[in-house]
């Protein structure tokens, strides 16, 4: 049961947060001083539906080890329906990545409301831990047509 510490692996993690709920949730985590690793960097988008799969793939291409998308809870979207579309799009993208043999823990969608500072922080802690357990992103960076 001995677990060896992953030596100085500092994952790069991109978190897309919708402006209305999740970004505010992250702010609440901040003002409540709920720590999560500095590896997580947040990009503010108006809505989870603004996130194009291209953004996620681009992040991986540029060396990200994990990408997480946070939005309002289904039904609570500031724009009513944005997160419903995001949900289907991300399901499709994740399923394709999984199909191509990319570890499915590297991508995640979590709904975090403006009141859920605690959830934001725990989610980020969990996600970073997960990325730690997966280690450096090799496959996505390596998924090229030409070798």
């Amino acid at each position: 049961m001995s677990i060896e510490a992953n030596e100085e692996f500092k994952p790069k993690i991109v978190a897309f947060c919708c402006n209305w709920c999740s970004y505010a949730g992250a702010d609440l985590a901040g003002s409540s001083r709920l720590a999560y690793p500095a590896d997580v960097k947040i990009i503010r988008v108006p809505c989870s539906c603004r996130v194009n799969p291209m953004f996620i793939l681009r992040a991986f291409e540029k060396g990200a080890d994990g990408v997480i998308l946070c939005g309002c809870h289904p039904g609570d979207c500031h724009y009513s329906t944005g997160n419903f579309y995001a949900r289907r799009r991300m399901t499709m993208l994740f399923s394709m990545l999984d199909y191509m043999g990319v570890e499915n823990g590297r991508t995640r969608v979590e709904w975090v409301s403006a009141a859920e500072g605690v959830k934001f922080s725990t989610t980020m802690n969990e996600f970073v831990q997960k990325i730690h357990s997966l280690g450096k992103n090799v496959r996505l960076g390596d998924l090229r047509c030409r070798n």
Binding site: P53, F84, Y85, Y99, G101, V102, V109, R144
Partner: protein, 324 residues
Amino acid sequence: MQELIARAKELLADGTVARVLGWKAGDLPYNPEPAYFEKEEDFKDFVYNSFCGANLSKFMIEASKLEGKTLVCLKPCDTYSFNQLLSEHRVDRDKAYIVGVGCKGKLDIEKIKKQGIKGIKSISGAEISDEADTLTIDTIYGEKTCAFSDAMLERCHVCKGKEHKIYDEIIGESKETKDAERFAEVERIEAMSPEEKFAFFRKELSKCIRCNACRNVCPACSCRKCVFDSTKFDSSQKANVDSFEEKMFHIIRAFHVAGRCTDCGECSRVCPQGIPLHLFNRKFIKEIDELYGEYQAGETVVEKGPLTSYTFDDVEPGIVAERG
């Protein structure tokens, strides 16, 4: 074929249509290519046989902008593409005179060549009129035979049916050639370990030369300007500066046609490197069927597709990780 030619000439003559979109014979016995026929004499090269796999519906995007109607020959599976384009306002129904042409399965010359048949001079049994189960191939090395179904395109083995989904008239008979499960190949890959999956796709995709044949032939991939050619995403082709599109082209292409792809199989048919590109699209089709309900793009003209609609109770993206 003669009935088709006769009817086409007749419609040209009475001014119903201004041109005919069909296939003309190529330089080899097995490579007919899409062509317009506007005058009586053009028809000497007109051909319709089991090598006419090309889906002509995409040509109707440009044809819709031309003066007058275009007679277009569509096989049953091509009509799905036409419907989908109609749903997306890309073609004009009023500019098309659709002749549903009969289809009994289309042939894949690569499959014939794989059986060691080379130096082909002519092939009989590929004419659409006969019921031949066997192809007789005259080669410079003598006569060879090959079972029709062994030479069939992959997509014909999972044929969607012999019905034309949209047409003005039908000429010729069609046959359902389905003899395999549509998703069997996808399931085989799904059952692999992540390492095997990764190795499989890496092997296949490493063959890609980015010739864009798949993109050019795909009826769903018909953007005026492809995102991979535009500056909007910093993703345009810049010679070897960025390997982004090389890595991700196929994922994004599959994503862009998800919910719109009719599974016509043209991408795999035209790939000069023989990459089974349809496996990407079919994976999405399978997911959509399983997660959001059975859906066949192009079955009818619809407003919203699966990725432009939703339900409150849709599964969460986490399902992908949960089912392992």
